[in-house]
């Protein structure tokens, strides 16, 4: 579960300050599928980075986890944030972000290295994750030998292999054609249903967003609408 209280994120650069997120307060319960929408520069990716423990807010508070194991993300050191990312959060990127020199199996195994699972056990789990996304016959293929949809399936397997509490997806269908887009969204639906995982997905695509339980609309860094589907 996420609890954001009055969260603001400001970036300081050479050209001055840019407030990407302003006073956002919201709660995301465990197991919910949330779609985040809004125009470019509205703060969607910044929200995802804060939820994913990739950035700390400039002000405000972010609590993550259930009551007994909740952590305050904005107060954790970088090492602890990395541990949270490693064990509890799975990322899926628009550009897939696979390591081009590693096979599908090795890419998935890369998700297990920071939690200390290696060797045969890591290979077994990675194989299972690839079977779950329908790529059991592509384990030794390099990303360049896979289609866009297959690459995104590998990325999904990499996010799932550590059995995370939350999956954060940034435009996961943005680089796919219509056929693959539907294919991947169906996969997300199945995973969300079967794994009981919290799914936060940034998307421009309203047809994708309509599958979610809740839609957050961000504009100019502010939470403009919080819509239950």
């Amino acid at each position: 579960m996420y609890t954001l209280n009055n969260v603001t994120k400001t970036y300081r650069g050479h050209t001055g300050e840019l407030t990407a997120l302003r006073n956002v307060t919201l709660t995301i319960p465990d197991g919910e599928w949330v779609a985040v929408q809004g125009p470019t520069g509205g703060g969607k990716s910044t929200l995802l980075q804060l939820l994913g423990a990739l950035e700390r807010p400039t002000s405000g508070r972010i609590d993550f986890g259930s009551d007994s194991t909740a952590v305050q993300l904005d107060a954790l050191a970088e090492g602890r944030l990395a541990s949270v990312r490693a064990s509890q959060i799975g990322f899926i990127f628009q550009g897939f972000n696979l390591i081009p020199t590693l096979s599908a199996l090795d890419n998935v195994m890369a998700g297990l290295r920071p939690i200390g699972i290696r060797g045969a056990e890591a290979a077994r789990r990675a194989q299972e994750a690839l079977e779950m996304v329908g790529l059991h016959d592509r384990v030794e293929h390099l990303p360049a030998a896979l289609s866009g949809g297959q690459q995104q399936r590998v990325a999904i397997a990499r996010a799932l292999v550590k059995k995370p509490d939350v999956i954060l997806a940034d435009e996961p269908t943005g680089n796919l054609d219509e056929m693959m887009r539907l294919d991947i969204i169906s996969l997300f639906e199945r995973i969300w249903y079967e794994q009981s995982v919290t799914l936060v997905m940034v998307t421009h695509d309203s047809s994708v967003a309509s599958r979610a339980q809740r839609i957050l609309h961000l504009e100019n860094g502010s939470l403009l609408a919080d819509i239950a589907a």
């Binding site: 990739l54 541990s83 064990s87 890369a110 290295r113 920071p114």
Partner: protein
């Protein structure tokens, strides 16, 4: 997976990896060659010492050189020479004490031998043989003209008056036959043809010739060598144990014969001294200095310092320039590798950002960079050893030789440079390559530590 990732990444970035490997390799090769040449020069210096002083000599005793001693003068009377075709042929040989040396009475040997801890002694009379030959215009009976004008004598194209002179010089050592193998120039030497001196040669006009000098001057066993104007039969050709290195003199005579031919009866120039043990050398040399205040007493260490010539110059250059070149090579390789590593890390922002987003800590990502640079370092070391080995083979193929002389004696040896591939150079090469790789890895990991995982998401926007 980690090793596979390391090798696949290096394979993917072949050009960059090859540039780093080549940079480290060249630096390692430079160090290997410098190290080899330095060892070769040190070895050559040892050979030079053995050649100029003989194997096993611990101390030499000579006499201070009197000021003004120099090359001999050749004088000819009117009746000297053979005339014909308007010119006169003049030849003369002289056997004199070697330039820069003074003689002592042979009784000095007994005084030296009486000093405690002296194991053996060998006396030598070091001589220079000069063969003068020349042609001058025969002006005998020429009468100036009556008008007072200068006579039209021959002038010669070079203004030498039509004369032509030449002096050939070689060194001759009179050796104490009874102790020739104990210490001194022939200690450790062997006969490559014929034989060494025997006791029966004492008082006999027989000569040994340095093998290299014999080859150069077409001298052979059984043939004569002209020393002091006397043709003396050659009974052996001698060489140093090092092989290819010339001995300390061009020709050798029994001591008494050398003294007679040079007109220096009972005189010697050197006493070569061997101590009972290495630990006695200091005490022996101190006793010699005390008991022979007029003598010049030199130990092996002193002798090494008195060697001059291109060998010493090369060794000095190798010592000073070599250290600087090693440091420069290390610095250049490190900077080169670090630069390429940092550029590589910067180009892989998305990759490393993704790994950090997956929960990889700095140490995980850094271990990847360190692994890649270490592999580059090891490949650089192997490349450098191969390049250095090839360079050493080429140097040895051309086999440059250096001259080594003993200050003031005119005794010169030609020492061929043989460059080894020193075992410690392998360790040094690996250490250098690893040092360059570690410095590069440090630069890379510093860049990794500054990398924010959110870069991975940004690059996707």
């Amino acid at each position: 997976m980690w090793l596979g990732y390391v090798f696949r990444e290096l394979g993917q970035r072949r050009r960059q990896a090859a540039a780093v490997v080549a940079g480290i390799g060249v630096a390692v090769a430079v160090v290997v060659v410098i190290s080899g040449v330095s060892q070769g020069l040190k070895s050559a210096q040892t050979d030079a010492l053995a050649s100029l002083y003989g194997v096993g000599t611990d101390v030499t005793v000579t006499k201070a050189t009197p000021p003004g001693s120099g090359a001999p003068q050749f004088t000819f009377g009117k009746a000297d020479g053979s005339s014909g075709s308007g010119s006169k042929q003049l030849t003369q040989s002289k056997l004199t004490v070697a330039r820069g040396l003074a003689t002592s009475d042979v009784s000095q040997v007994a005084r030296v031998a009486a000093i405690p801890a002296v194991s053996s002694t060998a006396a030598v009379l070091m001589l220079d043989n000069y063969d003068f030959s020349g042609i001058i215009p025969d002006i005998t009976g020429h009468v100036p003209s009556g008008d007072g004008a200068a006579a039209d004598g021959p002038t010669g194209a070079d203004g030498s008056g039509g004369s032509s002179f030449g002096v050939d010089t070689f060194s001759v050592a009179g050796v104490d036959v009874a102790h020739q193998t104990d210490a001194g120039l022939l200690a450790g030497a062997s006969a490559t043809a014929g034989r060494l001196f025997t006791a029966a040669d004492i008082g006999q006009q027989v000569a040994l010739v340095d093998a290299a000098y014999a080859t150069e001057n077409q001298l052979a066993v059984g043939g004569p060598v002209n020393i002091g104007g006397v043709d003396i039969p050659v009974v052996g050709l001698v060489s140093t144990p090092q092989g290819g290195v010339s001995t300390g003199a061009n020709a050798y005579l029994p001591l008494d014969v050398a003294q007679t031919l040079s007109g220096l009866p009972g005189q010697i120039t050197h006493v070569y001294v061997k101590a009972v043990s290495a630990s006695d050398v200091a005490a022996v040399s101190a006793a010699l200095r005390s008991q022979l205040p007029d003598a010049v007493v030199a130990t092996q260490a002193d002798l090494a310092g008195s060697i001059t010539g291109t060998l010493t110059a090369a060794n000095d250059l190798s010592s000073t320039l070599g250290q600087w070149l090693t440091l420069i090579a290390l610095a250049a390789a490190s900077i080169f590798a670090a630069l390429f590593t940092v550029i590589g890390v910067s180009r892989r922002t998305r990759e490393f950002g993704t790994l950090k987003a997956l929960g990889w800590k700095n140490r995980h990502v850094s271990s990847q960079v360190v692994g890649e640079t270490l592999v580059e370092g090891v490949l650089g070391a192997l490349t450098g050893l191969a390049l250095g080995g090839i360079a050493i083979v080429l140097i040895n193929a051309f086999a440059p030789s250096f001259s080594a002389s003993l200050s003031g004696t005119g005794v010169t040896a030609q020492i061929p440079l043989t460059v080894p591939l020193p075992i410690e150079a392998v360790g040094l090469a690996i250490a250098l390559a690893v040092a360059a790789a570690v410095i590069a890895a440090l630069a890379g990991t510093m860049r990794v530590a500054r990398l924010r995982p959110s870069e991975a998401l940004r690059s996707a926007e």
